[in-house]
């Protein structure tokens, strides 16, 4: 469904939006992330009021460095932001990622990945500010020194997270970053509540930007201030309440998690399962991920025209849904990419026509019900901006049994306007969830926590459906991922950032 809704105002506000919402900085292949705590409020505020934050305006020639700034709820308190303003942010943002046992349980942050084992993000190591530094090859060191120098007065370092040079492959060896939602910058998607019957890659702005309508046609709650309040007149007005100043406008929530990856463990396990056969080993790995190492979707590309996919040849890697593979015979039901984006629509597929739709809406189509176990994806998309860290380990090195010199992993970063409905939902219900899509009891093959279920039944298994027999089952999967830290940040609009740094 499309039709101009008339407002192209987003195009005018690139200068208020931090660039990360629009760009992944693929040309700035070096990056590092600083986690800071405020040690001197005045100095911190002064720096944030003038920090050289990169906006989403396109610049020619491309910049050689970029800086993005995000803050945790504790950080806002540290800056002296009024409590009633902080209360306007979402409950999960204010609670933080590590303080709630129930949250950790849902996210799968248990056992080795429990927050009390984190290096940062829990107890007294909760960062206040996240600085994301991006640089062209060779520029990072100088840029880092400069920023560190500027911040030394106001901030203490909790951690300085280095990243490895951006390539196309993630540490296990798979092409990564292939699938990203496309933001509807031209605001063509209907912003009223309307059922969508086809999978689309185009997402309403409000799914990733606060202050804009989301897929429900509503506005996610964020702090709306009285414009008379100190400095609040510098903030944009809220679209849904023009008499209020919108602190969230052009901002987003940013979720960051440091995921250490056990590359030798991963390949050694698969090698053992494949009995040393290299081809089979790769096939099993691909089955776990849902794409081959080169990014080819296991379910196969089809000629479906999916709205929101770029019209470039290599984006065909995203020209598929799972409609043609309901039993998981080509791409296992529990494969990683299938879990993180089930590519479904609001109603399970069926015959076209009003009557058929009504029957499916009321739940009377038994076949449709079998395919109705996973919620509609469009409400649960993630905009990923992560970067790997640590030295690359080749498959041969992984199998050789040599201990890697360096820790390797992913600094997972995603953006979204509603942490509970997007990140926490995908991580909790789809990734860590052991009953995803009717599976009997298994978590994500890459990220699953492997802890037994409430009835003691193991969840460290991976089922590979086959047409001529019961599911093949890989058992005794070890953990391949350990969470080393994490936090919820607010990535403010630039006017909002200046407001937070200067208001009283």
């Amino acid at each position: 469904m499309s039709g101009r809704t008339g407002q192209n105002s987003a195009a005018l506000e690139w200068d208020d939006m931090q660039a990360l919402l629009r760009f992944g900085f693929k040309h700035l292949t070096q990056a590092s992330f600083f986690l800071l705590r405020i040690k001197n409020r005045e100095a911190a505020r002064a720096w944030l009021a003038a920090a050289p934050v990169t906006s989403a305006v396109t610049v020619n020639p491309l910049p050689t460095t970029a800086l993005q700034v995000a803050l945790t709820s504790e950080g806002l308190r540290g800056l002296g932001v009024a409590p009633d303003i902080i209360d306007g942010f979402s409950n999960e943002y204010n609670a933080g990622m590590s303080t709630d046992g129930n949250r950790s349980q849902r996210l799968g942050d248990v056992a080795e990945s429990a927050p009390d084992r984190w290096r940062w993000g829990a107890r007294d190591k909760v960062p206040h500010v996240l600085l994301m530094l991006y640089a062209a090859p060779g520029q990072l060191e100088g840029f880092q020194r400069s920023i560190k120098g500027q911040c030394s007065a106001g901030f203490d370092e909790v951690a300085c997270l280095a990243t490895s040079t951006l390539g196309s492959k993630e540490p296990f060896g798979f092409d990564d970053g292939i699938s990203q939602p496309k933001l509807d910058w031209d605001r063509e998607r209907p912003v009223r509540d309307e059922e969508q019957y086809a999978y689309t890659n185009l997402a309403c702005l409000g799914e990733f930007l606060l202050g804009y309508p989301n897929e429900y046609g509503g506005y996610t709650d964020r702090p709306l201030l009285d414009p008379q309040r100190s400095n609040a007149s510098t903030l944009p007005r809220a679209e849904d309440s023009p008499d209020k100043a919108d602190l969230g406008r052009n901002g987003s929530y940013l979720v960051m998690r440091q995921l250490q990856q056990d590359i030798p463990g991963f390949w050694q396990y698969l090698d053992q399962q494949a009995g040393g056969d290299a081809t089979l080993r790769e096939q099993l790995a691909a089955a776990m991920v849902g794409r081959t190492l080169d990014g080819e979707p296991l379910v196969g590309r089809n000629s479906e025209a999916i709205e929101g996919n770029a019209a470039k040849a290599d984006s065909d890697l995203n020209a598929f849904t799972y409609q043609s593979d309901p039993q998981g015979l080509r791409c296992p039901l529990g494969a990683h990419v299938r879990r993180s984006n089930p590519r479904n629509a609001d109603l399970p597929p069926g015959k076209p026509g009003i009557v058929s739709r009504l029957i499916r809406t009321l739940g009377f189509d038994a076949q449709a019900r079998e395919r109705d176990l996973v919620p509609s994806t469009r409400f649960h998309r993630l905009l990923r901006r992560g970067r790997d860290y640590g030295a690359k380990v080749t498959v041969a090195e992984a199998l050789s049994g040599a201990q890697p010199s360096d820790e390797t992993g992913l600094h997972f970063v995603c953006l979204g306007a509603n942490i509970a409905r997007q990140f926490e939902f995908v991580q909790g219900a789809w990734i860590a969830g052991t009953k995803f899509d009717g599976l009997a009891g298994e978590g994500d093959p890459l990220l699953g926590h492997r802890q037994p279920g409430p009835d003691g039944c193991p969840t460290n298994v991976f089922s590979i459906p086959q047409s001529c027999g019961p599911d093949k089952r890989l058992t005794a999967l070890p953990s391949f991922i350990t969470v080393r830290g994490g936090a919820y940040f607010f990535l403010p609009g630039i006017r909002a950032l200046r407001y937070l740094a200067t208001a009283h």
């Binding site: 506005y219 009891g441 019961p470």
Partner: protein, 425 residues
Amino acid sequence: MVVAPIASGREAGLRAVLETMNVRPGMADPGNALLPFDEFQNIHFARLVILEDATVGDFAVHGLKAPSFPKHLVFMGDCDGPSRELLADMSRRADAGLRKIFAHCEGFDVQADLLGWLLAHDLPVAANYVNWVGRTVRQAKQESALQRALSSRVPREEIKSDTTVQQVRQDLVAYAKVEIRAGRLNLTPPEPTPVEWQMRKFLNAIGIPLVGLLALPLILVLLPFFLILLRIREKSDPEFYPRPDAQALQVLRQLEDHDVTNQFSALGSVKPGLFRRWLVSVVLLLIEYACRHIFNRGHLGRVQTIHFARWVFIDGKARIMFASNYDGSHEAYMDDFINKVAWGLNLVFSNGIGWPRTDWLIKRGARYEQRFKYYQRRHQIPSQVWYKAYPGLTLTDLQRNQRIREGLERADMSDAEALSWLRLL
């Protein structure tokens, strides 16, 4: 559902007593000293809830003073067979424990007939949803054990020929027989449904539509007036959906996600006025009918994750309590509600004070995502004690296990059917 007001001054003591029944907050100890749930083989779910109404002040949005409702203790469960029999069984075998709990209630005489008291306080349920009518606890447990046994035994290679499919199936059938004979597995044949129950169901099935048919002329005449009154009210009824308090949220979440299934207890006041009271009564009557005769085989509309749910009027018809047991996280439950069955929610809950604005009774309302999420969390109350008879099993598991058992017990199958059956394991 037993509902009794708590005697004044006894609430703290009652909370302490209820805490002793838990392994941890949110998880009852199946063998607890007061009411050992696992000794009663026909209880699917049970809970004890103190009805702490944080939203009674909402009457103010209608310009009315909040009535003072007593604080009740609710004891409810979902069981096989008539609830009367279960209560009688419980009062026989858990007499001391139940007395200790209900001693905190008004008007409970320690000397009195416990069963009589329980039955006197057993409120009728306005509408009751059962995911699969007739599936017993015993069946769920036995079929789960069967699934585990067969699943670990079935060979997981590709089956090369059709004859092998049948062979593999026969091997498993034989294995199951051996296990049953040795007493390691059990598949008790289901008890026949009492004829009386079937008769009452049949009469209800045709009776309600018959009454509807007879009343049809009257309904048609009244319809335009009803719609006008409805629209007037829908446009003017105040909404009230403030953000729930962070502390209250914390308390609720502490009780969640210890199993793959969660409990949900919510309490709300019906909007003032006869119109709303009658409307919600009719709606619940229709929902009861639909649940009893239509949605009794695995799904409530499109929602396939609710084990049991009920709506009960309390305090005359001033308040409604809603209680359910559902699979998955709370966020997923709300997602299902908004996306799959918002129209159903609106039918009932738009009659509650402060519900987000609806159009024509079924549109919008719960589709206002943020308003709905705040509303339901604010009306949700913690369940002090919650018991589930089959930890770790979701409805998908239960249904798969049913099909596994059915397939096992069939004399013979076509090759395609046998393959489908094997693929369930």
